[in-house]
Amino acid sequence: MLDYDVIIIGAGVTGSAIARELARYSLRTAVVEKEEDVCSGTSKANSAIVHAGFDAVPGTWKAKLNVEGNRMMERLSQDLDFPFKRNGSMVLCFSEEEKPGLEKLLERGKTNGVEGLQIITGDEAREMEPSLSDEVVYALHAPTGGIVCPFGLTIALAENAAENGVEFLFNRSVDRIENTGEGYAVHTSKGDLSAKYVVNAAGVYADRIHNMVSENKIKIIPRRGEYVLMDKEAGGLVSHTIFQLPGKLGKGVLVTPTVHGNLLVGPNAVDLDDKENTATTAEGLDEIRQKALKSVKGIPYHLTITSFAGLRAHEENDDFIIGEAEDAEGFFDAAGIESPGLSCAPALGKYAAEMIAAKAGADKKPDFKGTRKGFIRAAELDPEERGKLIREKPEYGNIICRCENISEGEIRDAIRRTPGAVSLDGIKRRVRQGMGRCQAGFCTPKAMNILAEELHVDIHTICKNREGSEFLKG
Amino acid sequence: MKRELTCIGCPLGCALTVETDDGGEIHVTGYTCARGKDYAIKEVTCPTRIVTSTVPVEGGVISRVSVKTEHDIPKDKIFDVMNEIRRTSVSAPVRIGDTVIADCAGTGTAVIATKNVESL
């Protein structure tokens, strides 16, 4: 007997979205992830934008899934209790000559079904966003654009999938996949697994996974983007997500508030060979800082709290590869998922799950629970509620992270969930401990102790993220 | 023999040169005040340091207590002192000034606690 009906490779936002949607069906599903936690690759380091959907060429997967994903996101954020905000976006142009570029986006957007799109003048734009550059001549305003917490979204999807029976297997990289006739044998770094169906949601590694079973080779290019994140003090500089007209390598440098109130600037785009190269560079950071200033005046870079880089899983032909591989029955791809992948995730998950369920002839489970309770954010409660919470659960009265006001209660909750945090980055992504302006200076020792206690392990084994990233040495 | 030192007496940080001639007499140049000269002579004749560290506490409200050598010890004994401190532990309660090691590494100097630790 096969171990599972479906094995999903990759626990990023795409894998987690597919897992959550598959959980609606009577299928035994597992998610295999090479890192120690969900949301550890492309999903963790990106612009955190829910695009309106005017960018993609009509008829592409990107176009189809973006608009639908955008529409689904609000409801999903309520069902699964993660931060999402429809803050609207603008694409700027800086000369009369560029206006046709905006008009083209407007047309595309209309074709794709984006609602409320409108080209406005620079003055109108500045009225809505006083910090916009004086050079702005026109802007495409998209009221449906939004921002989301990519960790919040991915973790919510994964938790909800787990609650409905999906298993998550971490620290397992896939070395080889074999078609056994009755299904697939998935050879991992921690033993072999078998399943009738395999879903490839492996991000920048999706080409390797696909090419293990298919002769129609694909290539995923890791395209690095660097970002600068600023303190919440700077978060109010703009309320919309501010784009420039897209260039060849992507949507260009944006300036946006985050759902948590920080200000984010980035990304650039550099194609690499190394699928693990998330290093930032002095030149790259300079480039985005300069380019962003073209859009928005007075970006307070002295309030920078961190900079980071992520890898887009760019597919050569510039579209997602979704569906069953032609020469590998039962092997489904969700490959080349780069921007607007985050925005597409809800729709992609639904679409892929329906496809797999149809293939498997699986029925919907009557007992699927489609909602999930998010983490309590004690600092956001009103004083009476917060006092009541602490009386009931005293650990919410012990503040560990001073900058973000995160208590021991939130940290323990992050660890105790399924799938729960097993690293400090895992805690950070769930409840924002160490995400603030001191970047974990004070709370690292305390969070390490709590994690070691909860996991019943020696503190020397506590990692920042994957194995090998231990904090203590010697 | 000639040695170059930086005076630690004040922020001026005078660059001191200390020469010991064949007769064993010490000549200091580069100092601005008498403290600088005294410091230089001490540094070449018998340099000493206070060593501070921590040792584990058993049965205390916290797990470690800070300690120091009660007096300066010869500079070349620092690592001997550290080695002995590293092999030591104490039991709560501990009071500031309590002797942790009576004669540390043969220096004739005690290692004493610099923090109070109550019993659990």
């Binding site: 790259g284 006092g387 006001n405 974990a440 | 922020p11």
Partner: protein, 420 residues
């Protein structure tokens, strides 16, 4: 609502000294709110010696220095709460804090003294490119892990920044068996005390590279090395000067910033240079009855000065509780630092109400030799004092006597600058 005459936020050296002084000035109803598990603040992890030379005329370790003040607080039966985090201060001095036992508590304070200390500048603020692996610590975090928890953070270490904590940690890690390969400092001079450079680096043969910085961090999981390069006069790396150092740990000691969350949230007027609140000679902030002292006001070099300043805040808060003054009654002279003087504390002074003398503290922006500190009252020279050396790492001070204002009680501007 619960009431206390004086609520002190922070039980470190500043909060303790403020409490003791307020008590001495006749106020008994004092509450100290400390967020950590013990009184003493950051001194608990500063196990090295060298504290208290000014105050006690002897060399104490951090915990010993703290204990002197803790003992006074205990003897005076001043109440304090541990594990208690203040989450809000209102303009009318309502203080809200939380802890496990009491939940959320709101109380009214006659006066509030801010004494939350400071924090370290993190990597992000330094804009060091490269990977983001484990093994990058601010020096103070490493210090806590080693000295409080007893854990070793690394075996091969590079330190960026020659602030005192970085120097102290270079020695500490060496003593515990680590190899500290180099200390790189962006500036052409060290921000640390001479004594620390000699006794923490020279003693152990650790090189100090001035005008150098980290330009790349290597290692995907744990730090495997860093690249260091020389910087030019513009503080930008000079191409071709890159040098690779293999190491598993990078310690950052690149400056301290007042812990100003509450100060900002309470709406205090802030000083852009110090990142702390603006205060008068009575150490009162722009909000009536809210005082500030210690590193939350401006980063000090020696704890002795923290204690002294905090005691002043304690006395002034006590005075405020006894005879509250309205802000608008005050007509203050503004202090201005110029020509090498980066800032002054206080930022304004009330000639009529001031003590017999006021200590004005400031820092300079470079190393200066044989300069004079000159004070002008509305453009007229009032004080001139020669200094052999002034350095950014050391806090400077000049004393203004009340009697000096007898001829100009209505002075509007007090300018402090460096001259030849």
């Amino acid at each position: 609502m619960l009431y206390h005459d004086i609520v002190i936020i922070g039980g470190g050296p500043a909060g303790l000294a403020a409490a003791a002084a307020a008590k001495e000035a006749g106020i008994s109803d004092i509450l100290i709110l400390e967020r950590d598990e013990m009184l003493g603040g950051i001194l608990n992890q500063c196990i090295h010696n060298g504290f208290g030379l000014h105050t006690f005329k002897e060399e104490l370790t951090g915990p010993e220095y703290a204990q002197r003040y803790i003992d006074r607080v205990l003897e005076e039966k001043i109440s304090y709460r541990l594990h208690s985090m203040v989450i809000d201060i209102s303009r009318d001095r309502q203080v809200t804090y939380i802890n496990r036992e009491e939940g959320l508590v709101r109380l009214q304070a006659g006066a509030v003294i801010l004494a939350m200390g400071c924090r370290e500048r993190p990597r992000g603020a330094l804009n060091i490119p490269g990977y983001r692996p484990a093994g990058i610590y601010s020096a103070g975090t490493a210090q806590r892990l080693m000295n409080i928890e007893g854990y070793m953070v690394g075996k091969e270490v590079v330190v960026l920044g020659s602030g005192d904590i970085g120097l102290i940690m270079a020695r500490r890690m060496t003593l515990e068996g680590a190899v500290v390969k180099v200390v790189a400092e962006l500036m052409p001079y060290s921000g640390g005390l001479k004594r620390n450079i000699v006794q923490c680096l020279d003693d152990y043969g650790i090189p100090l590279k001035l005008s150098h910085t980290v330009v790349d961090i290597h290692g995907k999981e744990r730090v495997t090395g860093v690249t260091i390069a020389q910087v030019g006069a513009d503080r930008k790396p000079v191409p071709g000067t890159e040098e690779y150092y293999s190491c598993d740990t990078l310690l950052l000691s690149c400056g301290l910033i007042p812990e100003n969350e509450l100060s900002r949230q309470a709406g205090l007027e802030m000083d852009r240079v110090t990142s702390g609140p603006v205060v008068g000679d009575d150490l009162e902030t722009s909000v009536e009855g809210v005082f500030a002292c210690g590193n939350v006001l401006h980063v000090h070099d020696l704890v002795d000065y923290v204690s002294e300043e905090a005691a002043r805040a304690g006395r002034q808060a006590a005075r405020f509780v006894r005879e509250p003054r309205k802000k608008e009654e005050k007509q203050d002279a503004l202090l201005k630092g110029e020509n090498g003087v980066r800032y002054t504390i206080p930022q304004h002074l009330n000639v009529e109400c001031m003590d017999e003398q006021t200590v004005v503290r400031f820092r300079v922006d470079n190393i200066y030799r044989n300069k004079s500190i000159v004070v002008y009252f509305d453009g007229k020279e009032a004080v001139r004092r020669k200094k052999r050396i002034l350095a950014p790492g050391e806090m400077e001070q000049i004393i203004l006597k009340k009697s000096a204002f007898s001829s100009c009680p209505d002075v509007k501007e007090i300018r402090i600058c460096l001259e030849d």
